[in-house]
Amino acid sequence: MAFRTIDDLEHALRGADYLPDRGLSTALFLALALEKPLLLEGEAGVGKTEAAKSLATCLGARLIRLQCYEGLDVAHAVYEWNYPRQLLHIRAAQEGTVSEDELFGPEFLIRRPLLEAIDSEEPVVLLIDEIDRADEEFEAFLLEVLSDFQITIPELGTIRSRRRPAVILTSNRTRELHDALKRRALFHWIGHPSIEREIEIVRLRVPGIPERLAAEAAAFVRELRGLDLAKPPGVAETIDWAMALNALGRQEIDAEVVEQTLGSVLKYREDIEEVRDETLARLVDAARATAR
């Protein structure tokens, strides 16, 4: 185990430019300590994927990412045979006396993320991103892999992991995951960060941003989250927006500049319309008051 205490891990994550709150540090720490997969859920843009990347960085481990989508199957998640090479190989052996064993050997195997992670010699963080997008058949298969950490290829036999990868699953909850999978994993819900933390994150991610501007941007985004929006902005949007404001050379926000740059915080037309005019001026005032 690379870290003795939660504080150690938190310190290392900060070193990797990631500012977790105590809950997330605890979750990542326990995932390592108990050798259990960690399921991260939360609104879009709260840093679920980023958490896995930063964990890999501070463990000095390789990050292997499996992006899920509907129809994701073994050929794209685990392995696939290299058909063009196989065909060429058959051709090259003039007489056509190629045996099946030869053709389905390791040199014709294309290794996809899950096999890579299981078969890796070096330490690995396996990120299974947006698992809710994969279909239930794949989820069932994944459950098997995550319980035994082994993969069977009919032509080659069973491959077992020598060192368990740290596994982070993320979900946007577009559908409920299977109970069996949830039972196998630790669960952490990432909420929006506190305003102090968000200011800290902005200052870390947007080097050189004036302190006042960072505080006002974070406070304004927090005001936005209090409204009834189709898609409330996440931390990722706050960072984007703060970058835009900083690039414009602003020291603080006002209604005009917010109006001009609103598109980097709000991504839906109806949300932007909701916030125009008097609402916008009111929010700017509130944010400036909070940041003072």
């Binding site: 720490f29 239930e136 577009t174 669960f187």
Partner: protein, 376 residues
């Protein structure tokens, strides 16, 4: 940690407390919880809290219950102990009773619609649900099951072997070609699998829909039973999710559960507010994206019809197609004059009646062959 350890006793009992408030905390989770506590600093309250929360709870909507139980149990805080919500006693009990086969001798075959004779069955098809007796109602049950099986379909990205398919199945082809020296004499094909399209049904159970609610609930039960990818909600003044309750195989038990789950049977209608609740909690989780959304309601909005329009527009943008089923439309004189109905119609792809079995058949046919109105 030994079983006599006070921490073990504490956590085991806490697990029991959580089970009592309705969380599913099995022994496996309790063991994980103990292992987690072993790994963190027990003097830091925050760490103990997260260690237990992350091992014992796996759903966001259970966090609140957990928090309250944690406060009450570990911190002895003066909070109201969490209690499982005691649901008001079923007004629908009557319905569950009429649906139950018990004691009425129906098992002998009386509920087989085919035994009604052709003309009897035809009459039953046309009869308004609102006017049916419990007995007639039982008879239409089986017909409903059949109707519910016809679901909208879409092609999946998953592929399956199919000799008439259009995509080459390389793996099988290479294997076959070994026999012919590498020449692909036999080609193998795959095709995209057809799977049921997501279906979301929002059913109005307010007072004005009372006489139809029982039939429609029964229909919902049959639809949910038709396979995965169906979500059912009921609304009056607020929204209740019925999917887990309708999942019970036995219709009687399912309806009993639904009755308990819906807080406002036969109340007033706040269609707009209910649709908004749906969009905010479920629409945001992309439940309606790419789905066929069916709203069953008479469109009598007690509050601002404009809200109905706005929320229907949101549903329309996310959904593959939107169907509105209005039992009143069964009456040939009917005109969609109710404010809520008028506001909703521009965002509705198909507007159908739902007052009798015949109209449900029509609904099933529409669902099975539904096409997208708008591209994108």
């Amino acid at each position: 940690m030994a079983t006599g350890d006070p921490i073990v006793r504490h956590v085991v009992t806490f697990g029991r407390v959580l089970r009592e408030v309705g969380l599913e905390v099995g022994p496996g989770r309790v063991i994980d919880g103990l292992r987690a506590l072993d790994a963190v600093d027990l003097t830091r309250q925050e760490d103990v809290y997260f260690a237990l929360r992350q091992t014992l709870v796996s759903r966001q909507d259970e966090l609140d219950l957990f928090d309250r139980a944690f406060l009450a149990w570990f911190l002895r805080a003066p909070v109201i102990p969490p209690q499982r919500l005691v649901k008001p006693v079923p007004q629908l009990q009557r319905l569950a009773d009429t649906l139950a086969d018990k004691g009425s001798g129906e098992e002998v075959g009386g509920d087989d619609p085919l035994e009604l004779g052709a003309s009897g069955q035809e009459l039953l098809r046309e009869k308004d649900f609102g006017e049916m007796s419990a007995d007639e109602f039982r008879r239409v049950r089986r017909l409903m099951l059949e109707i519910a099986r016809r679901r909208p379909q879409r092609s999946s990205r998953r592929r399956t072997a199919d000799p008439r398919g259009e995509l080459l199945d390389m793996r099988r082809m290479i294997r076959k070609s070994l026999r012919t020296g590498g020449d692909a004499v036999d080609r193998a094909f795959r095709t995209r699998k057809r799977v049921p399209r997501k279906l979301v049904v929002l059913c109005d159970v307010s007072g004005s829909m009372d006489s139809y609610a029982r039939a429609l609930l029964l229909f919902l039960h049959a639809v949910v039973g038709s396979g995965s990818g169906v979500e059912a909600f009921a609304f009056g003044t607020r929204l209740s999710r019925l999917t887990p309750d309708l999942g019970t195989r036995d219709p009687e038990a399912a309806l009993e559960k639904c009755t308990a789950a819906v807080v406002d049977w036969g109340s007033g209608t706040r269609i707009g507010a209910s649709l908004k609740e749906f969009n905010d909690t479920w629409g945001k989780r992309a439940l309606s994206r790419g789905a066929v959304v069916v709203v069953v309601s008479d469109g009598w909005e007690r509050e601002d019809p404009a809200l109905v329009g706005r929320e229907m527009a949101k549903i329309g943008r996310a959904a593959y197609a939107v169907v509105w089923v209005n039992p009143l439309k069964g009456n040939p004189e009917y005109q969609p004059l109710a404010g809520g109905m008028r506001a909703a119609l521009p965002h509705v792809d198909r507007f159908l009646a739902g007052h009798n079995l015949r109209s449900l058949e029509e609904l099933a046919a529409v669902l099975a062959g539904i096409e997208r109105r708008h591209a994108a």
